[in-house]
Amino acid sequence: MKQLICKVFAHFLYRGMKVLYKRDERVRREVDAFKEGGAFALKFSMDRNTAVVIEKTAGGLKKRKVIKEGDIVIEFKTLDLALKTMTGQKGLSQAYAQHDFVLKGSINEVMGFTRAVEVVMAHLLPKSMLKNILREVPARKISMFKTYILAIFGA
């Protein structure tokens, strides 16, 4: 069940990033800086092989099923820790600070991904939650409702 919840939230994170890539220059700038063909993988637990892999393409982002060599992998130490971050109970910066995950790959490249995730989170979560998990809440370019509608029905 926890895995499924993580996958659902990660899917919305991916869809939200796609939506905002077209509508928010902060996300577009960060995503455009990712290496084409490179990917960020969110692996929900060290002992399970479940991950969501977001790949940078020429036109934006796409989801891929497998982790390839050279991908940047954020591998949570336990499923419970993944659940906290994926459901917005904890920010990615907080999770990094508290050693919730193992990071395989360039730490520098993860910084841009983290900033993009924070902007996406700001569009997907209510402000009351964001205050507890982000150092500074980024302003929304479109409403939360519109972000979800676009994420569900197409960016």
Binding site: K84, K90, S93, Q94, Y96, A97, Q98, H99, V102, L103, K104, G105, S106, I107, N108, E109, M111, G112, T114, R115, N132, R135, E136
Partner: protein, 390 residues
């Protein structure tokens, strides 16, 4: 924020008079007979490595003194091969940040059994398969590298700096012998000590701060404010030298666990883009970043005033202590500028121009330390700091 932290430390610290002479015992009780001693040509020419080897009482050992200014994967691979082929059974690094980082790279290769360091880049990503005894002998009092689980190694082929965070690169023994730092010129003494002060102040205020790292940070700040100017004005002050060496080591343990913030994010970029010496960058940026962070962590800065100037702490209302502490730091930097020429502006380094700002900003935003600064770094905020520091 959820109440959880990790504090990772390992080194047995040998600190004080003739500390080097105790290394032979440490090797003996650990069953080690043949260390590989790493250093650089500069320290070799100064006779410092020779002194260290002699004082450590090493009988059988091998050496590698060609560590470059920026540690690189090629150097790490060369040294690792030498370690294996010469039958060495432990590593001793005698030097500054680059020598110790190179040694960490060698230890990393040996403990992980991986030959391509690029494959194990990251945080906590290394799986240990071997044990390697690692002794660090710092020759400056600043980096604190002898107590940190971080190493940065340049990959010249990729043209990138690879960053590693792992418990397995923490030295087993750190040797703080005043003989290693007594001949440091006042200006280098000042800039390296300001690096340590920055480690401590950022450690006390970053996102990963915790009660244990706080204790280390405070002890370091107190020692630096008490000793630094004394040593700059009298470089042969052995007690002061010991205090600064302890302060740098303690700050290293602190920031290795709570991380550093924006002073380092921007400072690393100034080093990479404009070759500004690390300690100088810290001295120049520290007050400006503190003013940025004051809005979020002003109370914490206020707490530190008592260790910089106890009388002022008592006479200053709580609401004004943060600014008073920043002024204490600025006052120290200005006095060091007058006494030994420590740079306090970017212009004074003669290396930074406004046209460099864009590249500096991009690199600073992507530095690993940016993520734990109390105030998030934006392009505008970094440019504002650079302009004020110019």
């Amino acid at each position: 924020m959820e109440n959880y932290f990790e504090f990772d430390t390992k080194a047995k610290i040998l600190s004080g008079d003739k500390a080097l002479s105790r290394v032979a015992f440490e090797l003996k009780i650990r069953g080690k007979n043949k260390p590989l001693v790493l250093s650089d040509r500069g320290l070799d020419k100064l006779g410092l490595v020779g002194t260290a080897i002699k004082n450590m009482g090493l009988k059988e050992y091998d050496t590698f003194f060609d560590v470059p200014v920026d540690s690189s994967t090629e150097t790490v691979n060369t040294v690792t091969e030498k370690y294996k082929s010469s039958g060495c059974d432990c590593v001793i690094a005698v030097g500054g940040g680059s020598v110790i980082d190179t040694a960490k790279g060698v230890v990393l290769s040996l403990v992980s059994g991986v030959s391509d360091l690029g494959k194990i880049e990251g945080a906590d990503a290394i799986v240990k398969v071997n044990d390697v005894l690692f002794i660090a002998v710092p020759t400056t009092a600043g980096t604190g590298s002898e107590m940190t689980s971080v190493a940065v190694i340049k990959d010249n082929i990729k043209g990138a700096k690879l960053e590693y965070i792992s418990s397995f690169i923490l030295p087993d023994v750190a040797v703080l012998d005043p003989e290693m730092t007594i001949s440091l010129p006042p200006r280098i003494t000042a800039s390296t000590a300001i690096d340590a002060l920055t480690h401590a102040i950022e450690a006390y205020t970053c996102l990963q701060k915790n009660p244990i790292s706080d204790g280390f940070a405070i002890a370091s700040i107190k020692l630096i404010f008490e000793s630094l100017e004394r040593v700059v004005n009298n470089p042969k002050d052995v007690e002061g030298r010991k205090a600064l060496a302890n302060a740098a080591t303690i700050a290293g343990a602190s920031f290795s666990n709570s991380m550093v913030g924006a002073v380092h994010s921007i400072g690393h970029s100034l080093g990479a883009v404009c070759s500004v010496a690390h300690g100088d960058a810290m001295a120049i940026l520290l007050p400006h970043v503190m003013r940025l962070n004051k809005e979020k962590v002003g109370d914490l800065y206020g707490e530190l005033l008592v260790f910089a100037n106890p009388e002022k702490f008592v006479s200053t209302p709580k609401s004004e202590r943060a600014e008073a502490f920043i002024c204490e730091v600025e006052g120290l930097l200005e006095r060091l500028n007058k006494s030994c020429g420590l740079a306090t502006t970017l212009s004074a380094t003669g290396k930074v121009k406004k046209e460099n700002f864009d590249e500096i900003v991009t690199k600073a935003m992507n530095d690993g330390s940016a993520i734990v600064n109390p105030v998030p770094l934006s392009r505008e905020r970094i440019i504002d700091i650079l302009e004020k520091a110019l």
